[in-house]
Amino acid sequence: MAQRVVAEGLFDWPSDEPRLIGSKCQVCDLVAFPAYPNCPNCGSLDVAETRLSTRGTLWTWTRQRFQPKNPPYLGTEAAADFVGYGVGYIELPEARVEARLTGGVDEPLEIGQEMELTVVPFATDADGTEVLTYAFRPVENSAGKN
């Protein structure tokens, strides 16, 4: 099946070990995500691409239980077929990153649990092409919350 990433430069793809792509300020060291053309702290334009860590902990979460409007949302399920998805901020060593969470809306989630990066299809273009984005999933067999 044909696939495409929702945005170039958001994460490595194709890749066996994809990582999120951020930017690091060469003046004040702040890491931002996604990659910014400038530092949102000091305003410097001297920023360099940087890869973020792939594992972290769940800092907060919710579940998106109503269907976002399309556009801008690319999902095209009939309203009755919309099942919702988890959303959370993952605390990585470099920054807290907002992400869709894998698993349905009934997946139990707890602040502090370990999460890891994955890449998932979340919508399908009119021509059948699957659209991929990054997401985080609970680390299996992890010790649980922090």
Binding site: V6, W61, T62, P68, P72, A95, E98
Partner: protein
């Protein structure tokens, strides 16, 4: 800023008004404020107008009289009214004009707001992947706050139940039926931990506030209310704000905290002086958090305060006495001027069934909106 007085307030009912445009609602609110102040439109020397849906809310003058005055349209998301009020007050303080108006109006379609993330300086993928949504931000902010400070879902239900109860005694509110905590808790989950009835709805309505130089206020009213402070602040890096694809590890206080501090300082007052407050309750969690962000309690105290009824009309710190956004809905441009309308009634002692007992002297209003802008106004007798 003790040189600016509020001498007239007016609002429409908030709700759904088929056949009436937002601008007509705006004119209705202005007329109500003029009547309240005993003024005619031609006496108004300048204005600021706010709206989300209407490009040119200044066109309200089509229904009031084309007198040639300067009118500036302002917009700052849900804090729009704070910008209108602040700029109107500053215009008087500047000395060129004695008498001006701040008016806000909106007429939103039903359902959540939809926009494109690019218009907020965000990449397109943020909207395309289903992350450009306001309600889930509020859900995640209160989720973390509950974890950090021991707030229970029951307290969220208490917030909403109080606001529906206050709405039931507010003749101009949208939702005027009380609702039990159980019904609120067990209603459809929208964004965990927030259920359907813990959210406000976008709706329709308008409100207007007439301001004048304090030294001439006695010409128009025997009971002027003074606008002691009105300030707007944007977010600092590290604040947990709506529409944030990421956050730095080092946290900063919310923009409300800075707006609140600046307003207290400008007013020469502190949280202990506040007798009645109107806080941005986009959802029940927001009221809980804003109570602390505005210095009206410590983080975590809310669990006890709501259980004890402290935020009720007869409590120690009455909050959203007119039912707030949860009972009134939110016509964005008008919402903060509705707060000023209610605070003015409370300080005048004319709030009827909603009147806070014991002659309240200081009123406090706070707004928060996308993309991370807060406004605070402090009123006093």
């Amino acid at each position: 800023m003790d040189d600016v007085a509020i001498i007239g307030v007016g609002r429409t009912p908030f709700g759904r008004f088929p056949g009436q445009t937002a601008i007509q609602l705006g004119a209705q609110a202005v007329r109500a404020a003029l009547t309240d102040a005993g003024l005619e439109w031609k006496q108004i020397q300048f204005g600021f107008a706010g709206s989300f849906e209407v490009d040119n809310p200044d066109a309200v003058i089509n229904f009031l009289g084309l007198t040639g005055i300067p009118i500036t349209d302002v917009y700052n998301g849900c804090a729009t009214a704070a910008s209108a009020l602040t700029q109107a007050a500053n215009t008087i303080r500047l000395g060129e004009y004695d008498l001006g108006i701040a008016v806000g109006m909106d007429k939103h379609p039903t359902g959540a707001f939809a926009s494109y993330s690019e218009e907020y300086g965000l990449p397109a993928w943020y909207g395309e992947t289903g992350l450009f949504l306001t309600p889930k931000f509020f859900a995640m902010k209160i989720q973390r706050y509950m974890y950090d400070h021991g707030i229970s879902p029951r307290t969220l239900a208490k917030v909403a139940a109080k606001n529906y109860r206050n709405g039931s005694i507010s003749p101009l509110a949208f939702r005027r039926t009380p609702m039990s905590e159980e019904k609120i808790l067990t209603s459809r989950m929208v964004n965990d931990p927030l259920t359907q009835y813990m959210f406000c709805s976008p709706d329709e309505g308008a409100a207007a506030v007439i301001l004048c130089r304090a030294s001439v206020a006695h010409r128009y009213t025997s009971k002027p209310i003074y606008l002691k402070a009105s300030v707007v602040r944007t977010r600092k890096l590290g604040a947990f704000e709506v529409h944030s694809p990421w956050l730095p590890l080092q946290r900063a206080d919310a923009p409300t905290v800075f707006a609140s501090r600046a307003a207290y300082e400008m007013a020469g007052l502190g949280p202990d002086d506040v007798d009645v407050a109107q806080l941005q309750d986009t959802d029940a969690g927001a009221e809980v958090i804003h109570l602390a962000e505005n210095g009206l309690c410590k983080d975590g105290e809310q669990e006890r305060l709501y259980a004890e009824g402290a935020t009720e009309i007869g409590g120690s710190i009455p909050v959203n006495t007119d039912g707030g956004l949860i009972a009134n809905g939110e016509p964005i441009g008008a919402s903060g001027l509705r707060q000023v309308y209610e605070l003015t009634q409370q300080l005048r002692g004319t709030a009827g069934d909603r009147q806070v007992p014991g002659t309240p002297r200081v009123g406090y209003g706070q707004l928060y909106g996308a993309p991370g802008t807060a406004g605070v106004a402090i009123l006093s007798t």
